[in-house]
């Protein structure tokens, strides 16, 4: 059982007011809030050992390097990657995906096929379209059902000898759907295709095991799991990371440089050109520690309870439609009220101190699928309460009365 009252004390931001009312923060799928324990790590870094890493001989540089590499190991252990150097620090999921997409430019041929799911974030669509433009490969889409689930039979039909890569999110940001990634990975591997799973939305809710999943690439952003913005990781299997060429050139990623030829550094540095977000990486490690101290099993149980409560309460509002699956879903509710634009609801909720996301959630194909301009999305974290759900429900009712 989680002690929510105690947990909320860790988050200074949850105690502020917005428009004269206590903040009800329900935009966790966009960015989670940061606990004091992580903020302290950030402050401590700049107060005590801010220095560039991996090349200094002085004490500060060594301390910063040790902390940064310790964070990498924490992240490796958390995701159960086999090797620490299979964890590449990036600026976040978008950077991670672009790194892989760019790397595959040299490995794909004209006519090769890559499969992407119909419920992807734009960041997991656009890089692959760009890759197709560069290589002549063909992008094919795994369709989804009205319930917001992938049509697995169609996926099996799409898989073929030309399929080289499959990209699917672990959890859909717009609908909350938890995709059956293990089965998708197994099927792709049978025909020799590589799989990238976008784990940005899954990481705050479940602990993904890289070895058990046998996934080739997995991407995560720190700011979705109580860490800072601008940092994330790419997990890649060693064999794949060795095959891919470097993404960006610069310092840190080289072994030797002459004007005739440069040899690249070993993993993970080959993909980490330039001075990284050192403080961010260290704070990411602290965020992982914080989440694990609370415990992912307890988080999952509590969030399910919140989701069920919110689904029931919102469902009682006449004319309110929830998009996405009824089961196998993360704590995200995407909804609309008949005849009202989601933007209007979001504006009124903001005036009431309630933060939600409105719009297409960077997943326009899903909105086109449902033929809607967007949705209102409330996403719940382990620090949200049932009282906050009640405030949301009251807010939505108030908005409905004003707007109809």
């Amino acid at each position: 059982m989680l002690n929510i009252e105690k947990i909320r004390k860790d988050f200074p931001i949850l105690h502020r007011e917005v428009n004269g009312r206590p903040l009800v923060y329900l935009d966790n799928a966009a960015t989670s809030q940061t606990p004091q324990q992580v903020i302290d790590v950030i402050v401590d870094y700049y107060q005590r050992y801010n220095a560039n890493i991996h090349r200094g001989v002085h004490t500060l540089s060594q301390e910063a390097t040790d902390a940064y590499e310790a964070a990498r190991i924490k992240i490796q252990k958390h995701f159960n990657a086999q090797k620490a150097y299979e964890i590449i620090f990036t600026s976040g999921t978008t950077h991670s995906i672009n790194l892989v997409a760019n790397g595959f430019s040299s490995l794909l041929r004209k006519g090769d096929e890559i499969l992407v799911s119909a419920m992807e974030h734009h960041s997991n669509i656009v890089p692959w379209q760009m890759l197709c433009e560069r290589t002549g490969a063909v992008l094919r889409v795994i369709p989804m059902s009205d319930e917001g689930e992938l049509v697995i039979d169609e996926y099996h039909k799409l898989l073929g000898p030309k399929t080289k890569l499959v990209f699917v999110n672990h959890v859909s940001n717009a609908l909350g759907t938890i995709n059956p990634i293990k089965a998708l990975i197994n099927a792709a591997h049978k025909i020799g295709a590589a799989v990238l799973i976008d784990g940005a939305q899954a990481a705050p809710h479940v602990k993904a095991d890289m070895q058990a999943l046998d996934v080739d690439f997995y991407t995560v952003s720190a700011h979705k799991i109580c860490g800072p913005t601008g940092v994330g990781v790419l997990y890649g299997k060693e064999e794949w990371l060795k095959k891919l060429p470097p993404y960006q050139g610069g310092g840190e990623m080289i072994a030797e440089v002459t004007f005739e030829k440069t040899t690249y550094a070993e993993l993970p540095h080959k993909f980490e050109a330039g001075t990284p977000n050192i403080c961010g990486g260290i704070a990411f490690g602290a965020a992982i520690d914080y989440m694990n101290a609370i415990g992912f099993d307890a988080i999952e149980t509590y969030e399910k309870e919140l989701l069920a409560y919110a689904t029931e309460k919102l469902g009682q509002i006449e004319g309110l439609k929830i998009y996405g699956p009824k089961r196998n879903k993360a704590s995200v509710i995407s909804f609309n009220i008949e005849g009202i634009h989601p933007y209007d609801i979001g504006t009124i909720l903001d005036k009431l101190g309630i933060a939600v996301r409105t719009g297409h959630h960077c997943a326009q194909p899903i909105m086109d699928f449902y033929k809607i301009p967007g949705t209102v999305r409330a996403s719940f974290s382990f620090y949200n309460t049932k009282e906050e759900v009640d405030t949301l429900v009251e807010g939505v009712k108030k908005a409905k009365n004003m707007l109809v």
Partner: protein, 140 residues
């Protein structure tokens, strides 16, 4: 009436309200009285970029004055554009170009003025003024 007088009138009306809810309810009411754009002009070309909701604006010259019609799929956005159009429609293009928009701040809608806000109020004002510039050139 000059743009200045209309703006003062709007500020006056809004000053009667005590809280944001009343202001928003009034704005929603105003949205319902917006001079609606004819279907033939509800084209992609007439959509104002930078809004989370769709906003269409059309401008037509009536003698020496510019007349605006518009629509939006979101009611609050419709209210905002209705306020703008009330101030700027049926005015000479040069007057529209010269008009300031401080009244938006005074009626308590300042929060909508941020250029990064997804409602596109700033884009709407810019678009109305662009029409005025285009028609002023034509008149010259």
């Amino acid at each position: 009436m000059t743009i200045q007088t209309i703006q003062e009138e709007i500020v006056d009306e809004f000053s009667m309200f005590e809280d944001w809810m009343q202001r928003y309810e009034y704005m929603i009411e105003l949205g319902k009285s917006l001079p609606i754009i004819a279907d033939q002009y509800k084209t992609d070309d007439n959509i104002i970029k930078g809004c989370q909701s769709k906003v269409w604006v059309h401008a037509e010259l009536d003698h020496d004055k510019l007349v605006f019609t518009a629509d939006s799929d979101a009611i609050i956005t419709k209210g905002i554009i209705a306020i703008l159009i009330r101030a700027f429609s049926n005015q000479k293009p040069q007057d529209i170009i010269d008009a300031d928009t401080n009244f938006i701040d005074e009626i308590g809608l300042k929060e909508h003025l941020s250029p990064t806000r997804a409602n596109g109020l700033v884009s709407m004002i810019k678009q109305l003024k662009l029409y005025a510039v285009a028609y002023q050139t034509q008149l010259n």
